[in-house]
C-alpha cells in the first residue's frame, strides 16, 4: 500500500508541470490562491478512511492511477453530432467542455439576453475588472481537514464555466453544459465554475457529464453559486459517464433573501462519483431543495454528501434522495443539517431511501442533525430494503411477469424523487433515463 505522502506526490507534480500553463499566471491574487490551495493540500493529502467525511468512500482505486497533468487540450477531433444533448436547441443554450477545456466551436452561438457566459480561462484573460470580479465570486471554503480536494482544485483550476445572470431576468431557455470525455485515457482536470444569479432572476442550469468510450479519467470540479435576493436557480445535473471514470464534485451555494436553490442530481455513471453539495442559507426566507437519485451496478460507487447551514431565521430545506443498487455497487449518503443558534423558525427535512437489488450491494447512510436553536422542526428519515414482496405479489396476481412487476416497482420508487421537479421537459428526461437504465439492467 502506498503511503499518503506518495498519494499527494502525483498531484503536486501536476502542479509543477502545469503551473506555467495555468490560466492567469500573471495575476497576483490568483497565484496566492493557488499557492494556499497547494500548501493546504500538501498538509492534508488525499482523504483517507480516517477522514470522517470520507469514511465510506475510499479513494484507493484512484490512488492506483497515474493521471496526466491538466496541461493540454484533447487532440481528438469531435463534431457536434458526436455529442449527446439533453434538450434541443429551442429549449437550451449549450456550452461544451471537452476533457475539461471549453470548446467554443462545439458550443451554441448567440447568447440569451441578460446572461454572460464565459469560460474560466477566458475570464482570467479578459480585462482586470472581469478577473477581479471572479475573485469575489470564488468562495472561501473551510479547506482544512475535510476538503482537501477543494484545495487541490484551487491549486490546479484550469477551466470551467462562469455564468452571470443579471437582475430581473427570467430565462426561457435552460443553460445546458456538457462535460464530455473524448477518450483521452488518464486525463485529469480540475474545473472551477461560478454561477451568480441577480436579484429577482430565474434560471435553469443543466449539467451533463458523459463520454464517448470507456476510459479512465479524473474530474475534480468545484462550483461556486451565489443567489442574491428573490432569485431562483434550478441546478440539475446528470452524471452518466463510463464505468471507469472518477468524479469528485463540490458545489457551494450561498442563498440570499427570499431566494431558492433547487438542486437535482441523477447519478448512473462512473467508477466512483462523489458529490458534495453545501448550501448556506444566509438570509431570511431562503430555501433549498436537494434532491437526487442514483442507480448503480457492478462495482460502481456513488457518494452524495450534503450539508445545509441554516444561518438565519425563517429558512427551510428539503432533501429527498433515492438509490437503487445492483451488482457489487455501493451507495453512500451523508446529509448534515445544521441549525445555527439564531436560526429560529427553521424547517429542515431530509430523507434517503435505498433499494438493494443484489446480495452484494451495500448502502451506508449517515444523516446528521445538529441543532442549536429551539424553535425548529427538523427531521430525517432513512430506509433501506429490497422490493416489497407483497407489492410484487399484488402485481403478479394481476398477470404481470416478475420482471415487469419489479421494473414497475423500481420505477415508481425512483420516480418519487423526480416528481418534485417543476420543469416538465426535464422530468420526462429523467424518467426516460430511469426507464432506460431499468431496461438495460433487468432485475
Amino acid at each position: 500500500m502506498m503511503t499518503s505522502a506518495n498519494d499527494q506526490d502525483l498531484f503536486i507534480a501536476h502542479f509543477d508541470q502545469a503551473k506555467n500553463h495555468l490560466p492567469g499566471a500573471d495575476i497576483d491574487w490568483l497565484a496566492n490562491l493557488r499557492n494556499n490551495g497547494l500548501s493546504l493540500f500538501k498538509k492534508v493529502g488525499l482523504p483517507s478512511a480516517k477522514t470522517e467525511l470520507w469514511k465510506f468512500t475510499s479513494l484507493n482505486p484512484l490512488r492506483k492511477q497515474q493521471f496526466l497533468a491538466p496541461v493540454t487540450k484533447a487532440e481528438k477531433s469531435l463534431s457536434v453530432t458526436d455529442l449527446p444533448r439533453l434538450l434541443d436547441e429551442t429549449k437550451s443554450h449549450r456550452l461544451v467542455f471537452v476533457d475539461g477545456f471549453y470548446s467554443e466551436e462545439l458550443s451554441d452561438k448567440g447568447l440569451p439576453k441578460g446572461v454572460r457566459l464565459q469560460s474560466f480561462a477566458a475570464a482570467l484573460q479578459s480585462e482586470p475588472a472581469v478577473a477581479n470580479k471572479l475573485q469575489q465570486n470564488l468562495k472561501p471554503r473551510d479547506l482544512a481537514q475535510e476538503q482537501p480536494l477543494v484545495a487541490l482544485n484551487t491549486a490546479l483550476m484550469t477551466d470551467g464555466f462562469i455564468i452571470e445572470i443579471a437582475k430581473d431576468i427570467s430565462l426561457d431557455k435552460a443553460i445546458e453544459i456538457l462535460h464530455f470525455g473524448s477518450g483521452t485515457p488518464q486525463s485529469s482536470y480540475h474545473n472551477r465554475n461560478v454561477i451568480t444569479v441577480g436579484a429577482g432572476s430565474k434560471a435553469t442550469i443543466l449539467e451533463q457529464v458523459a463520454d464517448r468510450e470507456s476510459h479512465v479519467y479524473f474530474s475534480n470540479s468545484v462550483t461556486d453559486v451565489t443567489l442574491s435576493e428573490n432569485a431562483t436557480l434550478h441546478h440539475y445535473r446528470i452524471q452518466e459517464s463510463n464505468a471507469s471514470a472518477f468524479h469528485v464534485s463540490s458545489v457551494q451555494a450561498d442563498v440570499g433573501n427570499g431566494s431558492s436553490y433547487d438542486s437535482f442530481i441523477l447519478n448512473t455513471g462512473g467508477r466512483m462519483a462523489r458529490s458534495d453539495i453545501n448550501v448556506n442559507l444566509v438570509a431570511p426566507n431562503s430555501s433549498c431543495h436537494i434532491n437526487g437519485a442514483y442507480m448503480l451496478k457492478d462495482d460502481q460507487h456513488c457518494d452524495i454528501t450534503t450539508r445545509v447551514d441554516h444561518k438565519t431565521p425563517h429558512t427551510s430545506c428539503d432533501e429527498v434522495i433515492k438509490g437503487i443498487l445492483a451488482g457489487k455497487s455501493r451507495g453512500v449518503f451523508q446529509g448534515k443539517i445544521i441549525v445555527h443558534e439564531q436560526a429560529q423558525k427553521t424547517v429542515g427535512n431530509q430523507s434517503h431511501r435505498a433499494m438493494l437489488l443484489s446480495d452484494t450491494a451495500e448502502v451506508d447512510v449517515k444523516p446528521e442533525l445538529e441543532i442549536f436553536a429551539d424553535d425548529v422542526i427538523c427531521s430525517h428519515g432513512c430506509t433501506s430494503g429490497q422490493i416489497d414482496e407483497d407489492a410484487l405479489f399484488y402485481l403478479r396476481s394481476r398477470g404481470l411477469s416478475r420482471e415487469q412487476a419489479q421494473s414497475l416497482l423500481v420505477n415508481a420508487f425512483l420516480a418519487d424523487a423526480v416528481e418534485a421537479l417543476q420543469n416538465e421537459d426535464l422530468k420526462d428526461l429523467f424518467l426516460t433515463r430511469i426507464a432506460s437504465w431499468l431496461g438495460q439492467n433487468p432485475q
Binding site: 470522517e52 465510506f56 443558534e341 429560529q344 435505498a354 438493494l356 437489488l357 443484489s358 446480495d359 452484494t360 450491494a361 451495500e362 448502502v363 451506508d364 447512510v365 449517515k366 444523516p367 446528521e368 442533525l369 445538529e370 441543532i371 442549536f372 436553536a373 429551539d374 424553535d375 425548529v376 422542526i377 427538523c378 427531521s379 430525517h380 428519515g381 432513512c382 430506509t383 433501506s384 430494503g385 429490497q386
Partner: protein, 485 residues
C-alpha cells in the same frame, strides 16, 4: 415572544436547581496512592488477592492503555483528563472483615442509604430486590444471595467471583469488550476495582430483579466498575443499575465496563438510571461518565434489552450496544437522556446484525435544556450474512430554551438486500398548541410541560421495571423542575 422569555427565565432557575443528593459521608478509607502506574495496578490486584492470570491481564491492558489515543469523535468538550490526579482504589475500611449481616455493616453506610431514601431493610422486603451495594468500589453487603443460590443463580461482586468462580470469569471477562476496545474500557480493564457478576444457569428464570446501587463517595476517586452478566440457555434475568453521587468540586472520572452474554433462548434486560452529580451552574465539578456497555446475543433466539434514563453527569459518553450473532436474536435500546445546565451527553447505541433474521429496535428520546448539548450517536450495521435483518430506529429530540443543542448522528450500513432498515429522527420544541390546550384546561404551565415531557418519554419509561419506573419518573421531574413552567 412572551413564551420564549418565560422559558429563558425558567431555564435560568433550572440551572440554579440544587443537586438533591449532594452530601459526603465521612468514612476512613483504604486508598491506593494517588496516580496511575504499574504499581497502582499491582496494588489493586494484590489488595484483591487476585490470581496471576488476572494481574497479567490487567498489566497487558495497562501497557496497551499507555499507547492508546483518547477518543475525540464525541461531541464533547472537556479539559484533558489528568489521570495522575486521581485515586484508583478506595475501599471502606471494614473490607478485610466483611460483614455477614446488615447489623455488622458500618452504621455510617446505613445512614448514607437512608439519606438516599432507600432504607435497606425495607427495600429487601418491599421490592423483592436483592441489592448488591457498591460503596466506593467494594461491595459490602450482598442480600438475598442464599435465596438466589437455591435456584443456582450466582450474584456476587466480581472480586468474589474471581475467587469463587475463576473459570467462569476467565471465560467471559473481556470476551465482549476486549481490553483494547477503547481507551476508557482499557483503563477499566487495568484498574477495575469491583462490580457485579451474575450467572444464570440453564433454564432458570431469575426469581427476582437484581439490582446494584453505585455510589461514588471518596473525593478524587475514579470509579471503575466492571459488570459481567451471563445468561445460559433458556434463562432470563432483569438487572437494574442506578446511581447518585455526592457534590464535589473536582471532576471525577468514571469508566465502567458492562458485558452481557446470552446463550440460546436466553434474555437479559438491563436497566439503568444514571444520576451522577452533573456539576454546578458553571458546569464545574461534575462526573465524567465514560461507559462501555456491550452485550452479545451469542445464541439463537436470544435477546438483550438496554433501557437507560440518563439525567446526571457533566459528561456522558455511553453507547450500550448489541452484537446480534445468534439467528433470530433481538436487540433493544430504549433511552431517555436529559441534559441541562452545562451538561454534555453523547450517547446512543450500536446494533451489529450478524445472524439471520435478527431484529433490533432503537427508541431514543433526548431532552436538552439550559446550555447543554445532547447528542444521539448510533450505528446500525447489517453484515452480508444477516438475511432478513430488521431494524427500526426512532430518535426524537426536544429542545427547551434557545441556548441548548440537540444533535443526531446515526450511521446506517447495510450489506444485505433482504435487510429492512428504517430510521427516523425529529427535533422540535414543546408544541405551543399542546401547552395551550393544557393551560386552557386549568393546568399550570409547569404541570403542562411535565405532562408533555412525560408523554414524550413514555415509550421508554414504560420499558423500565416497576420499581425503577417510579424513581425514573421522579428523576425526570426533578430534572425539569422549575425549568419549564
Amino acid at each position: 415572544m412572551a413564551a420564549t422569555l418565560e422559558t429563558v427565565e425558567q431555564v435560568k432557575s433550572l440551572e440554579m436547581e440544587k443537586y438533591k443528593y449532594g452530601f459526603v459521608t465521612d468514612i476512613e478509607s483504604d486508598k491506593a496512592p494517588k496516580g496511575l502506574s504499574e504499581d497502582t495496578v499491582r496494588f489493586i490486584s494484590a489488595k484483591k488477592n487476585e490470581p496471576e492470570w488476572l494481574l497479567e491481564w490487567r498489566l497487558k491492558a495497562y501497557r496497551h492503555w499507555l499507547t492508546m489515543p483518547e477518543p475525540t469523535w464525541g461531541k464533547l468538550q472537556h479539559a484533558p483528563i489528568d489521570y495522575q490526579d486521581s485515586y484508583y482504589y478506595a475501599a471502606p475500611k471494614s473490607n478485610e472483615d466483611r460483614p455477614q449481616s446488615l447489623d455488622e455493616v458500618d452504621p455510617e453506610l446505613l445512614k448514607t442509604y437512608e439519606k438516599l431514601g432507600i432504607p435497606i431493610r425495607e427495600q429487601e422486603v418491599l421490592a423483592g430486590v436483592a441489592v448488591d451495594y457498591v460503596f466506593d468500589s467494594v461491595s459490602v453487603a450482598t442480600t438475598f444471595r442464599e435465596q438466589l443460590k437455591e435456584v443456582g443463580v450466582i450474584f456476587c461482586s466480581i472480586s468474589d467471583a474471581v475467587q469463587e468462580y475463576p473459570e467462569l470469569v476467565k471465560k467471559y471477562m473481556g470476551s465482549v469488550v476486549p481490553y483494547g476496545d477503547n481507551k476508557h474500557a482499557c483503563l477499566n480493564s487495568a484498574v477495575f476495582t469491583d462490580g457485579s457478576f451474575v450467572y444464570i444457569p440453564k433454564g432458570v428464570r431469575c426469581p427476582m430483579e437484581l439490582s446494584t446501587y453505585f455510589r461514588i463517595n471518596e473525593l478524587n476517586t475514579g470509579q471503575f466498575e466492571r459488570t459481567l452478566i451471563v445468561a445460559d440457555e433458556g434463562s432470563y434475568v432483569s438487572y437494574l443499575e442506578g446511581c447518585t453521587a455526592p457534590m464535589r468540586d473536582e471532576n471525577q472520572l468514571h469508566a465502567a465496563v458492562v458485558e452481557l452474554v446470552t446463550m440460546d433462548d436466553a434474555e437479559i434486560k438491563y436497566s439503568t438510571v444514571q444520576n451522577w452529580y452533573p456539576g454546578d451552574a458553571e458546569g464545574k465539578g461534575g462526573i465524567y461518565n465514560f461507559v462501555t456497555k456491550r452485550g452479545i446475543c451469542r445464541g439463537k433466539n436470544s435477546k438483550i434489552s438496554w433501557t437507560q434514563v440518563e439525567t446526571g453527569s457533566a459528561i456522558t459518553w455511553k453507547y450500550p450496544s448489541c452484537i446480534l450473532q445468534g439467528d433470530n436474536s433481538v436487540g433493544e435500546f430504549y433511552s431517555v437522556a436529559i441534559t441541562n445546565g452545562r451538561q454534555q451527553a453523547d450517547t446512543g447505541t450500536k446494533m451489529i446484525h450478524l445472524g439471520k433474521n435478527t431484529t433490533s429496535r432503537i427508541i431514543s428520546k433526548g431532552i436538552s435544556a439550559g446550555k447543554s448539548q445532547n447528542t444521539y450517536r448510533g450505528l446500525v450495521r447489517v453484515s452480508a450474512k444477516a438475511e432478513g435483518a430488521r431494524n427500526f430506529t426512532q430518535c426524537d429530540s426536544l429542545l427547551v430554551g434557545d441556548t441548548c443543542g440537540a444533535h443526531t448522528v446515526p450511521y446506517i450500513e447495510s450489506k444485505n438486500r433482504s435487510a429492512r432498515l428504517e430510521h427516523e429522527a425529529t427535533t422540535s420544541k414543546i408544541s405551543e398548541d399542546q401547552l395551550f390546550y393544557c393551560r386552557q384546561r386549568g393546568i399550570s404551565e409547569e404541570d403542562a410541560v411535565g405532562l408533555v415531557v412525560n408523554g414524550f418519554c413514555r415509550e421508554v419509561l414504560q420499558e423500565l421495571p416497576m420499581e425503577f419506573a417510579v424513581e425514573a419518573q421522579k428523576l425526570v421531574s426533578i430534572s425539569l423542575e422549575g425549568s419549564v413552567g
